[in-house]
Symmetry: C2
Subunit: 306 residues, 2 copies
């Protein structure tokens, strides 16, 4: 775990994921020098102040020059333009990767700009918090979380293996997956749940007869978890929905279909339908705990129980 | 906090809330003797084994005899029948309360059976975890959570004040609220979010092209929180939806309306609408953290960050 995997790594975009990658790479000694670039000078100043990256550069081109690995950590909608900008100065033999939540769109936007002799291995770490920005990262973010590699046709297996070693060194479990399947899986496990949480929080905010202060005070049961999800970065999520449109709309269609069936059961007083449904969903929770992706501690361990 | 509030308390139903009440009352010395009753002999055996209640009784009538406070801790749909059963043996001057998540229905079902000279003060502690049963309780469950008292017309203010002292002694903040408003507030903050979480987990389970194992492995982002909510007790939640039908259906109607508007924005590529919506919901999260009802630690402190 303490072997250097790349001599030089460039992080383009310095938010939650990039900053966590930097601390995770440092923790395990995976990279010789890590450069960083962010579009906003305020973010670059913050990065310099907190020691995020060995060298913070004022242009993306400067950051990627001589890099063995370039990781695009910008919102999905910004990947194509950034790639176009850095393409001319990439080192031959370098690998370009990304951490976007949508893969088909990123591949379509980035791949045409990849120069001959440069490898492209898209990736997506399934880890995050509701915080964003350069100060939100921490070395343990990826520990025991999954990172999905989505190699495109013709990718050098050696480049993929090296990126896998980096993610494993940062604490993640790694799987490989096809881009379209990735986008469907994420529409189910992440994108649609986020849209639903945003919607529910918006409804609560709109309701005239219940004040925001009541919603906030009495949010312990259920709603609180939605607000956490709905506090995530707006730009990132706008881009996710715009670029994973088809899969999200498909899952939303199934969701509303099922919701209407439950709504009908409530209206008609069909207690058996409700009880059966609620019993079935319990089993899935058990599976997640057994898979090590959450804690069994009541209420996420938020309570004071020792 | 260490003054005795009631000499004898009877808990009818021994699940998460009742068992937490027992440990919270013991922690602060709020009750002289606490008796308990559960319909299932297995639950009664468990309670005796773990020392839950000073005395576990084999009938509800035996448990409530001589009690100064009787707390109904059964699913909302079972409140009426239990109350009918214990009514003849209640001590004059005793108070009956409950912990049901719906208040109008409980009042309609319980009040007709309250004998002359017995007080009725409905209550609802806004605290819980996804676990249930007699072994799931712990003394700290109500600390810094809200407990809502919903006194009915003509309730003796002295009886209400005493119940308030008990809940405050168990660590809760106490507010009073009208029954119909309570049911609307809870439809927004708890009941509808639960139904939505159940639905999303059901959709994921149904989807043929994404395996349960994939859903479980890759659940870190968003979906995981839904599964926790959807793991709650099926009987309790069936009763909630059947008995808070009108408010839940009203909020569901608003929810689907808003969801369709966001769905349309995705379909038409209206990024501005999405970004504005997601920015607005962020502020609500901030309010909840400032109100002390959640932690600001990333990912609920589930991560390993020190």
């Amino acid at each position: 775990m303490s072997t250097q995997v790349y001599e030089r790594v460039a992080l383009i975009g310095l938010g939650l994921i990039a900053s966590s990658m930097f601390w995770a790479m440092k923790r395990a000694g995976l990279a010789g020098e890590v450069t960083g670039y962010a579009r906003s000078s305020e973010t670059r100043d913050t990065a310099r102040r907190i020691g995020l990256c060995d060298r913070v550069c004022d242009t993306a081109r400067e950051a990627v020059a001589d890099a063995d690995l370039v990781v695009l950590c910008v919102p999905v909608g910004a990947m194509g333009p950034v790639m176009e900008e850095i393409a001319p100065v990439l080192k031959p033999g370098a690998t370009v990767s990304d951490v976007g939540s949508v893969k088909r769109h990123v591949i379509d936007a980035v791949q045409p700009h990849i120069p001959e002799g440069v490898h492209f291995v898209p990736a997506h770490p399934l880890a995050g918090t509701e915080h964003s920005g350069p100060e939100s990262g921490f070395a343990e973010l990826f520990d025991n979380r999954w990172s999905l590699l989505v190699p495109v046709e013709g990718t050098d297996p050696e480049a993929t293996a090296r990126l896998r070693a980096l993610w494993e060194g940062m604490g993640a479990n790694v799987d490989e997956m096809d881009a379209d399947h990735h986008d469907l899986v994420l529409a189910v496990t992440s994108h649609t749940p986020h849209l639903i949480a945003y919607t529910m929080v918006g409804v609560a905010d709109d309701l005239r007869r219940v004040t925001d202060s009541e919603v906030i005070k009495y949010s312990a049961a259920g709603f609180r978890d939605f607000t956490r999800i709905a506090a995530s970065d707006p730009t990132m999520w706008r881009d996710v929905f715009l670029t994973n449109k088809d899969a999200t709309l498909e899952i939303l269609g199934r969701f509303t279909e099922e919701l209407f069936a439950l709504q009908r059961a409530i209206r008609t007083g069909d207690g058996e339908h409700l009880h059966d449904y609620f019993t079935r969903t319990r089993a899935i929770r058990r599976g997640i705990i057994e898979a090590g992706q959450d804690t069994d501690a009541p209420d996420f361990g938020r309570s004071l129980k020792k």
